[in-house]
């Protein structure tokens, strides 16, 4: 079966400004792909192109086998889209709003009550079904936006920052919804919250300035940047001899020594080390045999480091008119 979302060399220009450069990736059914990037990276524009809200300037976007340039209405039946700001009608009640979206998505009149029940339960909206939308709190608005996207059991779910504005409990529930939905369908979610991507995404795409910098599993991305491993230690020792000792060890590439704030006897040391196992044990042995070692920790690469590395390392280029 072909992937549910396919982007082939997609670009988007507004006037002379290119927002998205030659973007290509796919999202398969049963896969949750996280979209990471700083503000203004082009995440929302990409989401909007996949959702059919705006058209690509060049390249091809295919969703559920439909070309978004020519068959976007057919494709729209297979897409659930939650934009950055939940698109709600304040004057309608929650149930009237959901009924409107369901009708447009072609949910059968007979199946309507069951379908509404399904999404209100999944998004925990039972308590507010009769409320008017303008009275809802931020968390409920966000969840109503998600409920709207789930209506009609779409093949593809596009979620732009779905957990923004939710409290920790609601975030947990929303992740469960995404996870269970992602088991059979394709989910593309953009997020600022890196642990979220690590927790629920099968793959993560990092984009910046409209370009795809990397796409891989969170673990794969972390492995790729493992050379940035660091070991931190706190030691009471003369700075000069400590530096010489550390640099003489196999696997230690660079050493930075600072005085610990508030505790002048203790030095705070940061070593840049190889990705190999056992470097920290060697450091611990060498230091502890001569001086007082108060603490040692190895910083494993986190997605946050990965993200920062990619985003920082991306070449800055000028827009060409």
């Amino acid at each position: 079966m072909s992937p549910a979302i396919v982007l082939e060399s997609v670009s988007k220009r507004y006037g002379s400004k290119t927002i998205i450069h030659d973007l290509s990736f796919t999202v398969a059914r049963g896969e949750i792909v996280g979209f990471l990037g700083p503000n203004g990276a082009g995440k929302t524009t990409t989401m909007r192109m996949i959702a059919g809200v705006t058209a690509a300037t060049s390249g091809r976007v295919t969703v559920a086998g439909y070309d978004m340039a020519t068959q976007n209405t057919d494709a729209a039946r297979q897409i659930g889209y939650l934009p950055e700001h939940p698109p709600l009608y304040d004057t309608l009640s929650v149930s009237a709003y959901l009924r409107f979206v369901a009708k447009v998505k072609g949910v059968d009149r007979a199946a309507l009550p069951v379908e509404l029940e399904r999404v209100t339960t999944a998004c925990r909206l039972e308590a507010v079904v009769r409320h008017e939308v303008y009275k809802l709190s931020r968390g409920y608005r966000q969840r109503l936006g998600l409920a709207q996207a789930l209506l009609g059991k779409p093949d593809v779910l596009l979620l732009d920052e779905p957990t923004a504005g939710l409290d920790p409990g609601q975030i947990q529930e929303t992740r469960e919804v995404m996870r269970s939905f992602g088991a059979e369908h394709a989910v593309l979610l953009s997020t600022h919250i890196l642990p979220e991507a690590t927790l629920i995404c099968h793959r993560v795409a990092i984009i910046n300035r409209g370009r795809l910098l990397a796409i891989d599993s969170p673990r794969g991305l972390e492995r790729a940047v493992e050379q940035t491993n660091r070991v931190r230690l706190r030691v009471t020792a003369p700075a000069q001899s400590l530096r010489e000792e550390l640099l003489s060890l196999d696997g230690v590439n660079a050493v930075e020594i600072h005085a610990s704030p508030g505790d002048h006897d203790v030095l705070s040391v940061e070593c840049q080390v190889d990705a190999r196992e056992g470097v920290e044990a060697r450091i611990a042995r060498a230091v502890a045999s001569r001086w007082d070692l108060h603490g040692l920790e190895r910083q494993a690469p986190t997605l946050e480091n990965v993200f920062l590395k990619y985003v920082k390392d991306a070449p800055v280029e000028r827009e060409t008119a």
Binding site: P87, T91, L92, V104
Partner: protein
Amino acid sequence: MSGTLAVYHKELSTYFRSPIAYFVVAVFLLGTGYFFLYNIFLTGDATMAETFQNMGVLLLTLIPVISMRLFSAEYSARTMELLLALPLEPWQIVLGKYVGAVTMLLLMTAGTLIDLVPLYLFGNPETLTILSGYIGFVLLGMACLAVGQFFSSLTQNQIVAALITASVLLGFWFVGHLQSFQTSYALRSLSGYLSFALHFADFIRGLVRTEGVTFYLVVCATALTLNASYLQWRR
């Protein structure tokens, strides 16, 4: 079709939950009632002719208030994002909204029927002339709404949409007055043909002419087509 219908139902429930709609209907009915009484007592004739004339001008000032929110509010509330992502063609969005607005127009028009009660009780009015006036009034309203809806789709600022619509509608209303300044026959005919007021005057006199009906319908069709094309182009 079901998409258009769903948009239509959503539009209607939006109207009935918005204070602006009630305000517009109230102002229109009060205004019409006032003009009706004034004209009846002034002329003593059992006719709606003067009242229709006044209703036309009243309509021209109130239509922008109805039409301004049609698309501008969708842009500013970011709900346009939803409409564009749903399985709806631009023309379905345009049509659903337009038919909703025309329903409001028909309700407003139906409200003025109460003025006919004293007319028939105490006088002997010409039913066909009144009917023709009402047909003209509804056609005029439909054309104005279509123009207003188009301008609403161009901006997310409702006030700007209302001001542009009001200016354009006033232009169409008064363009007939330019006739007297034109020496060339073509320009005279054109400014007469484009005039909302002159066509409406025919209907008030009891003349339902193909030319007038066609004119209003062409204005509707043009504005709505531009509206849908603009949405498509914006994508």
